[in-house]
Symmetry: C2
Subunit: 348 residues, 2 copies
């Protein structure tokens, strides 16, 4: 920490994403004068390492946000609803990684590669989008800009770490039980607070978050609504099917898109995405080079490959998009927003 930097708070510092936030702040050498780590009463007292020094996690209270410049929240929507206004009241800018404020018209929903300028319109709270949305819009935005975009149909392949540390533990325990010929005992996935739980090991569960009355899950509706908001395209056709897999970390997405312009080629899309911010192109089928979740872990990039032209529709293309859901999908995008706030002079 340096004398001249900012006072940053991380709320939910002991969770799967919170820990990645602290680690990412360190890795990025973010200009920090003081780091305050906050949590529920239950986790208070835990020590978290930052730049070789142990910081004791404190219980979050309204007063905890006095003198804070930027507060990164990732402790569940109810905690954000409770404390984000308190932080704003005390002069902090909140970057909230829950779904609490994402669709609030007064709250910018930001992926810096796509709509960094929206940060200028903030009223104290900035929302970090859903993990599966972020990696998709990073890949789609350069395409939209150059060729126009009219339709998106995505099927996801999502890792259990999106459901927290207990879900990771459940996947490992169930995998071992099944290898040992024992029965799996599902207790958490697909949704901890829902009525039924299903085996995730060696299975695929087509439910992430609870169901809405229209038959879509909340996760699917997040992808649909957030994509339109981030890309400033209320008219964009977006459909999503979200599926949980026995993968620890790294979300994958099979995405079908329709462009506005005709006669675009695969090579043109590859060249465009290769030079686009935040993207690593991995698309050489002849060398079996394509993105995979196991190779994305620990990296900030969005990996794109398997780009194919639709065989029937001149405007149709298929892509395979992979990213570490805890980093670009959560912690890194939040820290990146904080970096943009500094860069744009919004936080001084």
């Amino acid at each position: 920490m340096s004398a001249s930097g900012l006072h940053v708070a991380v709320v939910g510092a002991t969770g799967a994403v919170g820990q990645q936030m602290v680690q990412t702040l360190e890795n990025r050498n973010f200009p920090i004068r003081k780091l305050t780590l906050l949590s529920s009463a239950r986790s208070a007292g835990t020590k978290v390492s930052y730049n070789g020094q142990d910081i004791i996690v404190e219980e979050a209270k309204p007063e905890s946000f006095e003198d804070v410049d930027i507060a990164l929240f990732s402790a569940g929507g109810s905690i954000s609803k409770l404390f984000a206004p308190e932080a704003v009241k005390r002069g902090a800018i909140v970057v909230d990684n829950t779904s609490a404020y994402r669709m609030d018209p007064d709250v910018p929903l930001v992926v810096p590669e796509v709509n960094e300028e929206d940060l200028r319109t903030h009223n104290g709270i900035i929302a970090n989008p859903n993990c599966s949305t972020i990696q998709m819009v990073v890949a789609l935005e350069p395409i939209r800009k150059k060729y126009g975009l009219s339709k998106v149909v995505v099927s996801t392949y999502q890792a259990v770490s999106g459901a927290g540390a207990a879900a990771i533990e459940e996947l490992h325990t169930q995998s071992q039980d099944i290898i040992d010929g024992k029965e799996a005992k599902p207790e958490i996935l697909p949704v901890k607070g829902d009525q039924k739980h299903y085996q995730i090991a060696f299975n695929a569960i087509p439910q992430i978050d609870k169901f809405q009355d229209n038959g879509y899950t909340f996760e699917e509706m997040k992808m649909i609504n957030e994509t339109k908001k981030i890309m400033h395209m209320p008219q964009l056709k977006v459909a999503a099917t979200c599926v949980r897999l026995p993968v620890v970390t790294g979300h994958s997405e099979s995405v079908y898109i329709e462009l506005e312009s005709e006669n675009t080629t695969v090579s043109e899309l590859q060249a465009l995405l290769e030079s686009a911010p935040g993207i690593v192109l991995q698309d050489r089928p002849e060398e079996q080079l394509y993105p995979m979740p196991a190779h994305s872990v620990g990296k900030n990039d969005v990996f794109v490959g398997r780009i194919r032209k639709d065989l029937d529709d001149q405007k149709g293309f298929h892509l395979w998009i992979v990213s570490d859901n805890l980093l670009k999908g959560a912690a890194w995008n939040s820290v990146q927003i904080a970096e943009s706030l500094v860069k744009l002079g919004i936080v001084k």
Copy 2:
């Protein structure tokens, strides 16, 4: 076996699918006078149980097919190319579960729920479609018949058993190694005969079969071409992205379709599929009822759920289709073709 039945041969009787064929013949009480089990020289001598009696597997030779009425082939395309004509020459009807003859215009490609009548046009060989194709067309055909069908975009979630018994072993070994903190040693998947091999445990690999020059894999092109042939719809728009998962058995598919008729409702599609042959509807989101691979194992049915109307396109719908890839995807569809041959009086 009864004195009045047929002489059936199974080629590849010791493989993952071949064993399921023998088991399915037994479960269905197929009218068998004599059962001849054939394999490569390497596996000859193995004993396989059928109706409580051990049958010794013999090395396949042209003469093995003397007096055979129906020969079920599942020993790889090169074996089919070598022996299927020999079997036909000797008066047998071949049901071939490899890709060797599927796109041959003189060979019917049959899923009995969809195009059973095509069996009448056979010239000795009948092809059994690719596993991922079969379960999809079973669900799409009733929809096509009633509402018309113009476009299909499918993303698959495929089990390793489609790549054989060694791939199942590889998934288990790798899973144990990773749980134990060791490094995974990929040797088989995604494609045994391809240059590179990748970890399948806790990962997702967007490659099944080798790549074609157009960037699609052979598996994807099989789904595209076979769907058009089986449904007699050369003009149908079909696109596929095929992905291998750490699931032992049970393929899942996220399918987006566009109908020809407008104003169809989810309830109408549910009612239609509920009474369609070979389908079990599992679609009650409010009870978290939807198809999953772990629940499909050992069953002949195609399970359909998560039926949703597209939120933008009046003609668009989304479905989630799951089936046991070794049964309806392979062994059961082959035996079902044999049953149809008897029922239609083609084999007597």
